[in-house]
Symmetry: C2
Subunit: 135 residues, 2 copies
């Protein structure tokens, strides 16, 4: 069993990662951090480098916390939802953790298409986490 | 801390309850089962009775499993999402568990409005669970 988290370097992504790490510790299961990027023309070398730096920071934090983990940076032209669901199936995931934007008081925010797809199409449960006010 | 589950007598509702009970056991926290019904003209005495029977069955199962729990049947004219979020706030919930329908191979199912509202508006994380094939 393992816990899969979709990581992006936003406050929602960091909130999801933090919660996923707590759940992995509680259950003593492995944490799989998936950072999925469609790639393509917009994915230049500066962005690729920033992306690698962030992931290596994530790795150091998890190392320091003693959480068994694996970081998978996927750039294979898929939607993040497809990559997350595929990794969850391969890994016999206990659940997937995703970050959601908090609705603003005036905002008629609807769920993003990636979040909807993960919620509807993943065979395993999905834990949706919001960022704290202070994040 | 506590875990809140939105219970309805469908296979998705039962899957959510089962998972919530496991999570409560794992964390040794209290489980709050919320069955929210708008009430009104369509809520006749036969339905009210069926509703009570189901909840007392839920209670017996949780008793037998030794899970500390509280069952709250709310009929106060609210949407289920409003009731669930209100109970989660009162109870300082660790997270809310909800059941989701599985997408059919041909179905372009979108998330129901209650599920969307809970996911977007709850301050705490939300664990979305699907029913197993065999349920």
């Amino acid at each position: 069993m393992s816990i899969i988290v979709g990581y992006v370097p936003t406050k929602e992504g960091r909130a999801a990662l933090r919660r996923a790490a707590q759940e992995a510790q509680l259950r003593r299961t492995k944490l799989v951090v998936v950072n999925s990027h469609r790639g393509g023309r917009d994915f230049d070398s500066t962005e690729a480098e920033r992306f690698e730096n962030e992931l290596s920071q994530v790795q150091s934090t998890l190392d320091a916390e003693g959480i068994e983990h694996e970081v998978r940076a996927l750039v294979r032209g898929n939607e993040p939802s497809e990559d997350l669901i595929a990794v969850a199936e391969e890994s016999d995931a206990d659940f997937i953790v995703i970050g959601l934007r908090r609705r603003t008081p005036v905002g008629k925010l609807i769920l993003g298409s990636n979040a909807q797809r993960i919620l509807l199409d993943a065979a395993c449960p999905v834990l949706a986490v919001k960022a704290d006010e202070g994040d």
